[in-house]
Amino acid sequence: MEEQGTYVTPVWSELLHELSEAGAEVATCYQCGRCSAGCPVAEFFDFKPMQVVRMCCYGMEDALLSSRTIWLCASCETCTTRCPNGIDIARVMDVLRSRALLAGKTAPEPGVTRFHQAFLNSIRANGRVYELGMIANYKLRTGDFFSDAALGLQMLRRGKLSFLPSRIQGAREVRGFFRRKSR
């Protein structure tokens, strides 16, 4: 591709390589800003989606991996849907999150990280998510026992939370997926 105008010459990095493998060609971004205008949570981000995309090109991985943005992204896929260059920006966020976990970065949004861990632990244990157990696990991890306690009781009263987990026969097979994760 001929580089001109707003196109950047990306600095080769392992991150760019991984993004490219995932089908997210961040170098094609011409900073139109549709991703950031439509993002429902951009106002809470430290870097807007369009900045994230450009920072990937510049090799600013450290700043990205310790950013709030990657954990506050709700994965609603609005950016991916609207990008005129077909950049799967939600996937860029996925790649950055998994690289942040792998690099052992201190997450600026520990609650979000712990929620994902509690959720995945529940799948690993039973093959399905056992909501009540998942919530208890999350509360233990965060030490935040009181928020939403009234809501939890309401949901129990309305039969919206099962007391018992349902464990599937293929639970071992599912556990195997956790052993051969991406890397």
């Binding site: 089908g23 429902p40 994965s75 609005t78 929620f115 909501e131 809501l151």
Partner: protein, 292 residues
């Protein structure tokens, strides 16, 4: 395709059914009402044998391979059963479709036919002209005078490269369904705005802001209720509205229905006393003029 042929000979169609974890818990009423609607439409739902969690947001947000593996196991089971797969949960639908795309993009992986399984979200099933016609014929208690807004959220339609949606910015399936039930569809611009469901536990503060915008927009549009087909949206919109109402007495409080609950209530002979009990926001007042 197999189902199309079958429909000619046998009035009862069989599909594999993937309820997903939410429908066994927080969205129990969604599960129950999908099953009721299937009976009305003579569709036999065979729950996918030994299905596992699709991984939802937490898996793909942190590990791509894990997310694909979790979804693919379910698709393999459906492929072995040679049936179309009906999916009510928006997140499950999205993950299953995304796994199929991952396999299509890398054709040398052994997929065992999983990419060919027809994964159908309930909203696509119910919007087919023949399905809408049957529902219209089965309505016994129309939602006369009720004003509703359809709320699609994120994952039923986005991104279209995964979901196959032809109208990701302005979906219309639920609009058609609500009109068939006799209610009025109000126009609004928040049909596909994200409610922040995946952040509702760790960042309730932020989620409340998103929910408030959606609910206020619905109220401005003159709606008396919100209709959805996503279990996360339903739970999030109802629960966070309770918080918002506590903080601000003037905040609107709108019940959030699963579209299938409304179809079941409109087509059922008898009035079920406990039908609306799972709702955190009691819809009795809104529904009483329709006699439901």
């Amino acid at each position: 395709m197999a189902n199309e042929e079958k429909k000619e000979k046998d009035p009862t169609v069989e599909v594999a059914y993937y309820p997903g974890c939410s429908l066994h818990g927080t969205a129990r009423e969604y599960d129950g009402s999908v099953r009721e609607v299937a009976r009305v439409l003579d569709v036999r739902l065979l729950e996918l044998r030994d299905w596992n969690c699709c991984g939802a947001s937490s898996a793909h947000m942190t590990d791509h391979r894990l997310a694909v593996d979790l979804a693919a196991r379910n698709l393999r089971i459906a492929a072995r059963e040679r049936k179309d797969l009906l999916v009510p949960c928006a997140a499950c639908f999205h993950r299953l479709k995304a796994a199929q795309k991952a396999f299509r993009d890398e054709p040398d992986q052994p997929g065992e036919g999983l990419a060919e399984v027809q994964v159908i979200h309930v909203s696509d099933w119910l919007r087919k002209p023949e399905t809408l016609a049957r529902i219209r014929g089965a309505v016994k208690h129309p939602l006369k005078g009720l004003r509703l807004v359809p709320y699609y959220g994120c994952l039923i339609t986005r991104p279209p490269a995964v979901t196959g949606s032809r109208e990701p910015e302005d979906p219309k399936g639920m609009d058609l369904l609500i009109r068939v039930l006799g209610a009025e569809v109000r126009r609004w611009s928040f049909k596909t705005e994200c409610c922040g469901g995946s952040l509702t536990m760790p960042r309730a503060d932020l989620t409340r802001i998103l929910v408030s915008r959606i609910v206020k927009a619905a109220a401005r549009a003159g709606a008396q209720g919100i209709v959805t087909m996503c279990p996360m949206c339903q739970a999030n919109l109802e629960s966070r509205q309770l918080d918002l109402k506590k903080q601000d007495r003037e905040h609107p409080l709108l019940p959030v229905f699963f579209a299938t609950e409304l179809v079941a209530a409109c087509t059922s002979e008898t009035r079920q006393v406990n039908r609306w009990k799972p709702h955190l926001i009691d819809p009795a007042e809104v529904l009483s003029p329709a006699g439901l």
